[in-house]
């Protein structure tokens, strides 16, 4: 897994909405790219303007930053970039779109990493809010992208509606004897996650649900594990056909 793949890569041609006929990006598109990069950089720590300008590949980034400051999306005090309310909201949305797109591409189309990233970058500018929530629901409201980074929660995640059969769902939803591949685990505690992984329960492992009551019984290869029901509910799988 290469975390450097996250975010824009220098020299990559972009396509999709937001390009005018001359092949130039619209300003709103550029703003989205900038917000996205700011967000990912902020996940690692405070972002200085200087650092940001080194990382970005947007032309006139400097200029757009200032415009965004004037619109009160961000603040640029003391050489540091910080989100204001509006910027935060917009950035969160674009990140959510990007990372959900990544999930969609890796789970549904099982795309390899190198194909996934460019497509996700296109998707993020296309998805509208309604489609986005449907995608989120379809994927079982994943908490992280395939790189393990958090996906900001959307309105659908709180409601947990089940209007369509989700592709990725809690282990508890499998029928007895069915197999599934673990997609992600959302444990309450660090220790629990580490213990599960020492026993071979990690994303990618194939499990067979042997029993739900009185406790969950799972088979992973030749290992049989018994778990509490609430732990079983924290494991999300994609059903094997």
């Amino acid at each position: 897994m290469n975390r450097a793949n996250e975010g824009p890569v220098p020299g990559r041609k972009r396509h999709g909405r937001g390009w005018n006929e001359a092949g130039e990006k619209s300003e709103s598109h550029q703003r989205e790219e900038i917000l996205e990069l700011l967000w990912t950089m902020r996940e690692k720590g405070p972002v200085s303007v200087e650092e940001f300008l080194q990382m970005t590949e947007e032309e006139e980034a400097d200029h757009i930053l200032r415009k965004m400051e004037r619109d009160e999306w961000i603040s640029l005090k003391e050489g540091q970039v910080a989100f204001l309310e509006e910027g935060e909201r917009r950035a969160e949305e674009i990140i959510r779109r990007h990372r959900l797109a990544e999930r969609l591409l890796s789970e549904v189309f099982e795309l390899e990493e190198k194909y996934m990233e460019p497509s996700a970058c296109q998707f993020e500018h296309i998805l509208n809010p309604q489609v986005l929530d449907s995608v989120c629901t379809f994927l079982g409201h994943p908490p992280t992208c395939p790189h393990g980074k958090p996906i900001p929660r959307g309105p659908c995640c709180a409601r947990f509606k089940r209007e369509m059969e989700p592709l990725v769902r809690p282990l508890a939803d499998l029928k007895l004897g069915e197999e599934g591949r673990i997609v992600f685990i959302t444990p309450r505690s660090r220790i629990r996650l580490e213990r599960l992984s020492s026993l071979g329960l990690i994303p990618g492992s194939v499990v067979r649900l042997a029993q739900k009551r009185p406790a969950f019984v799972l088979e992973i290869g030749e290992t049989t594990l018994a778990l509490d029901e609430d732990i079983g509910r924290e494991v999300y799988v994609k059903k094997n056909k």
Partner: protein, 658 residues
Amino acid sequence: MDKCCEKKSAAPEVIPRVALIGNPNVGKSVIFGWLTGQYVAVSNYPGTAVEVAQGNSKVGGRRRVIVDTPGINNLIPMSEDERVTRDILLDDEDLKVIQVCDAKNLRRGLMITLQLAEMEKPVVLVLNMADEAKERGITIDRHGLAQLLEIPVLSTIATRRKGLDGLGKVLEESCTPQVRPIYSPEIEEGVTAIENLLPEKQKGKRALALMLLAGDESLQDWLHCRLSEQVILKIEEISRRLQSQHQEPLGFFINQKRLNAVDRILEGVFRKEKRSRGMGARALSNLTTHPIGGVPILLAVLYAMYKWVGDFGAGIGVDFLLNVVFGKAINPAVTWVVEYLFPWQFLQEFFVGPYGLVTMGLTYAIAIVLPIVGTFFFAFGLLEDSGYLPRLAVMVNRVFRVMGLSGKAVLPMVLGLGCDTMATLTTRVLETKKERILVTLLLALGVPCSAQIGVMVGMFAGLSMKAIVLWAFVVMGSMIFVGLLASKLIPGEKADFIMEIPPLRIPTLANIFIKTLARLEWFLKEAVPLFLLGTFFLFALDRLGLLKALQNMAAPIVVGFLGLPAKASQALLLGFLRRDYGAAGLFVMAKAGELDSIQIVVSLVTITLFVPCVANFFMIIKERGLGQALAMAGFIFPFALIVGGGLNFLLRFLGVNL
């Protein structure tokens, strides 16, 4: 300087040490037995091999010390067991390793191999249970694996001594496995940074750096002995910074990467035909944990155990030892010797009086408790080795949940039916402190030990089924009530229930015999002195005239509140010291027709809820400290009296006929 910092004094003659390392239940102990000619507990229940066994071996013509370590799944310790094993590996730099791996579960085995490689240990990999793997359609390219890892790889069936012969020779060729999973660039950077901060000559820096990154708190002592405060802070800073860049815990991320690396190795050497697990065995295995089907099996197992321990152990065994061995031989002989040696009555009574060390303490421990406990340990060994215990844990998990416990607590609870004192000791296998306190409390409160059950069975004989059910109902109800309450009051997280279920196996009788003997040896060493001490207490109370005085003080409660005859206060008072002494006293009264059926049930409930015995109380002090022990006793005795009194009142008030 701290004690831990002293270099272990280099012994003049250095005998090379070899550690057996592996996941739980892979047959390490059997191989240990083969290497050393000694036996240690082989068991299916995670956590039973907490104690580390050592032995000398001359296999392959060289003298070596073999260390059998507790089973592990990871060298970043998550339990006491894993910590012990990790520390053994860390402490001895020249230690060689025989890694035992369940051939059918190579994936989890290699997970450890990778970590041994990072620790730079010379390793021989033993793929054990080759027969079971073959049965399931698994083929492993042993030579391919050996080439990939560049270490010797053996294929064995340890229980049948197959394939072990080469072990001695191959041990000479052991070397560090040549696999190094690459983690992410960020992690690698952190690892290098930490490696540079570690002591220069330290071996296996990479492994240590990864453990530290994963936030392994159990390494704190080790660090403080070797590095300055400043350096430790630096390391912590690196690990904190990296963690803040990751959404997932680093330990999990590292495990995940390791498993990915293992999967890549497996691709080339591990093949599995699509063949379902043995249908018969699988069906039975599933049935044992089935929510409905599992219940009759559970009941059958408990009934068979009761028959074996109750009828054979407590009946025939106790009769023989008590009436023949002690009654006709030992006690008369000792009495004769003591009376001959000591002309003073005080000393005579000290040894052979009504509260004498021999006539009461020793007779009690050897003639009554030993046969019951012995037959129980044998049955328990069968349960363990057949793989049924973890299944039992699954069955009772729900009920235990209510009491704030996980199904794992079933091990000490079932063991408590044999001897509460020993069971209190085994609460160590539980993961959280909260669980250990809860189980200790519940054991003391409501789990009757086999000796007590033996006596009570005699009293039940004269009662209706209704009375027995009522007794069981009140005792279990009290346990659930107290468990529920205590789990709310005692701080701490509820314990996770994550347990591996080993396949069902047919146990080897020889193994069970040896294991039972080992446990009996423990019992004789640890429990008998406490029995003697308890007897001495009674003797002292009696001599000082306190026994009578206490009895008189207790009479109002016994007569007024519990509705029992005044004479019963003596039995209950003894029940403070050993609840089966108390039960025995009641038994005598019931036989003589001095108790009606309500009185029998009330007195049995009260005495069952008492703290089992002085020995148990001492063990609680030893494991949990005086404060907690006193708090528990301070709760249990009044609680037992209140429940008994309440039951008496209720039954009389409702005019129940038992």
